[in-house]
């Protein structure tokens, strides 16, 4: 095989892996959108917040240390302990559940029956709030996640492909782990929504709010559950992205990247989120590889959006979305 083709295959494989990570974020969007019709822009910031909380707990940081120091003139930073990874994941998860409860109580409850665009803007407000709050709570320095995830290129794939094609593919082991985790997560979510009682209630709510209410399903409880599950997905996404590029502000921008993924896949479909993520991931890497040098590079910044835009013009509901029917 020609060298150029092999490069292209390697680039697409890396794109697939990046796409998995986009899909992870998009998954959180889909969950909330299906259950409550809210398009949750704050999903990306939730991922950032979850990762910050995880690192903060693990390293025994004192929350609001900067603020406390500023007000009282003290010099406190750390509790001085170092929690095991498992425990800090659990604690971060508890924090996300708490966040879900608070969001439901303070925001969603008051916005029932508002237009979708109003709810969308409310989640933008929430994103800003959470961003400032996360930074205030844990400090805005770039942090590293150390919960025992593998790093570096995979030697065995390198060796295997070298034997096969005479050219070793460079694939990060972290990406492989991320892909596995994403697959597991999708299986878990599917089983959860198909076979558990809460999952069934969740689907009922997604289908029809009023009908669900009339058979005795508590909407507010379901919303808390959905936001908690989305918080869990955010935690996973935050850990994966955080492990890749450090826990920092730019993490919240992946929400913006997840938007075109969703538009491609359709807002209401979990498989759609995965397929959309893969298409965008491969598409932007390949596009940059093939045409990037001609136009000056860095096409990854806009390719996903333009692709989604062009695609939507032809198919407004996305690949797997439900058909949009409008009535006067």
């Amino acid at each position: 095989m020609s060298q150029q083709l092999l490069y292209a295959i390697e680039v697409s494989l890396n794109g697939l892996m990046a796409g998995v990570l986009y899909a992870l974020v998009a998954l959180g969007f889909v969950l909330i959108y299906k259950a409550s019709g809210v398009f949750n822009y704050a999903q990306g910031v939730m991922a950032l917040f979850a990762a910050l909380t995880l690192v903060g707990f693990q390293n025994g940081q004192i929350p609001f240390a900067h603020l406390i120091n500023e007000i009282f003139g003290t010099q406190v930073h750390h509790f001085g302990w170092h929690l095991p990874a498992f425990l800090s994941v659990l604690l971060a998860l508890a924090m996300m559940v708490l966040l879900a409860v608070i969001v439901e109580k303070l925001v969603l409850k008051h916005l029932i029956n508002q237009e979708p665009v109003i709810l969308f803007m409310a989640t933008i407000g929430l994103a800003y709030f959470l961003e400032g709050f996360g930074d205030l709570m844990w400090g805005s320095a770039i942090k590293k996640i150390e919960i025992g995830l593998p790093y570096g290129p995979s030697d065995s794939i390198d060796q295997f492909t070298y034997d096969l094609f005479g050219y070793g593919f460079f694939i990060d082991r972290l990406d492989i782990v991320a892909a596995l985790v994403a697959a597991l997560l999708v299986c878990f979510l599917t089983v959860f929504s198909q076979y558990s009682k809460i999952g069934r209630a969740l689907r009922a709510v997604a289908d029809d709010h009023q009908a669900a209410l009339s058979v005795g399903i508590s909407l507010r409880f379901i919303w808390v559950v959905v936001w908690s599950v989305a918080g869990f997905v955010a935690l996973v996404a935050g850990v994966m992205w955080g492990a890749k590029s450090g826990v920092q502000f730019s993490l919240s921008l992946i929400a913006l990247k997840a938007l075109p993924v969703l538009m491609l896949g359709g807002f209401t479909s979990i498989p759609g989120a995965i397929v959309g993520g893969l298409i965008i991931g491969v598409g932007e890497k390949l596009f940059d590889f093939l045409l990037g040098p001609l136009v000056g590079g860095a096409t990854e910044n806009w390719f996903a959006y333009v692709l989604a835009l062009v695609f939507l013009v032809f198919r407004p509901q996305g690949l797997f979305g439900e058909r949009i029917i409008e009535r006067v």
């Binding site: 398009f39 900067h66 603020l67 500023e70 303070l106 925001v107 008051h110 916005l111 508002q114 979708p116 665009v117 109003i118 969308f120 803007m121 409310a122 933008i124 407000g125 929430l126 994103a127 800003y128 709030f129 959470l130 961003e131 400032g132 709050f133 930074d135 205030l136 805005s140 913006l256 938007l259 075109p260 969703l262 538009m263 136009v295 000056g296 590079g297 860095a298 096409t299 910044n301 806009w302 959006y305 333009v306 989604a308 835009l309 939507l312 013009v313 407004p316 409008e326 009535r327 006067v328």
Partner: protein, 360 residues
Amino acid sequence: MFYREAGDFRTSYTDDSQTFPITFDRYCYFAILAVAFLVIPFLINDYWANAVLVPLLVWSMAAIGLNILTGYCGQVSLGTGGFMAVGAYACYKLMTAFPDLSIVFCVLFGGVVTALVGVLFGLPSLRIKGFYLAVATLAAQFFLVWLFNKVPWFYNYSASGQINAPERTVFGIAVTGPNVEAWAKYLFCLCFVFVFAWGARNLTRGAVGRSWMAIRDMDIAAEIIGVDPLKAKLSAFAVSSFYIGMAGAMFFANYLGAVEVTEAFGINQSFLVLFMIIVGGLGSILGSFAGAAFLVLMPVLLKNLLAGWLGWDTSIATHFEFIIVGGLIVFMLIAEPHGMAQLWRIIKEKLRLWPFPHAN
């Protein structure tokens, strides 16, 4: 007590449909204009011009633009930053290509070019609706910023990739460039904002504005009663982008003087303008001013309070700014989805009766 209609006799349709039908209101409006045009230019200094008044005017212009599109026509756009960049770069190219041309034309030209680009990116709005469209406009935001970054022709091949506003004059007085006086750039921006806010107000009251609002309220129903969605949506995109483009041109030429595109016209600016119109009030020209004033003044105030008065670290003040802006957006949407403009309307109703709560 105030806002009494007693003694206001409207004997013609013109009287009845004027913007400020109540005499007291009208005089207030004239008084504010008089202060803005005749008093402030004599009192202004560099700090007030650069930190408060000029940004306030520029952002008001952008907010009016976005309000036309989102507030009046119901098309949510997250591409404001990109469109402002188009205005700024178009203005810059014209300024440097024709040094003798009046800066007024350059700013207007920035608006016109942006209007064309806006129509182009508005075309998908005929197929895509709601927040699908909002995400589609992100394509404009990222693509345009990337374009101005990557094509050296736009920034005249300057080594830094920045664009710098050369000195241009109006009636012999510099309004852009390094030697500009505070009052001159303030007055320049004020004239633009005054003329075009007045224009926007009257445009939104007329047939065009009504067709926008019909599309906003329900596009299918509007189509059935004979509003052409193609014309209405694209004209909204064109007019809105025209305003935003001029705002971008003034932002570059008068306010900052030198900009770097990713920093000055990033996605954050898009959100900032969106917040302005949400806080100020969707579908209200007054609300655009109120929202812009709020989001320009609040950070200045907060910085002075936390960093200057309490002596805290500025980064903490920034975090608080995020928290307050975000919290406020959510609060506004819950408490008063129609923004500060609606609050003002309620206050006016109350003032009409005050101090006799049981009159009527």
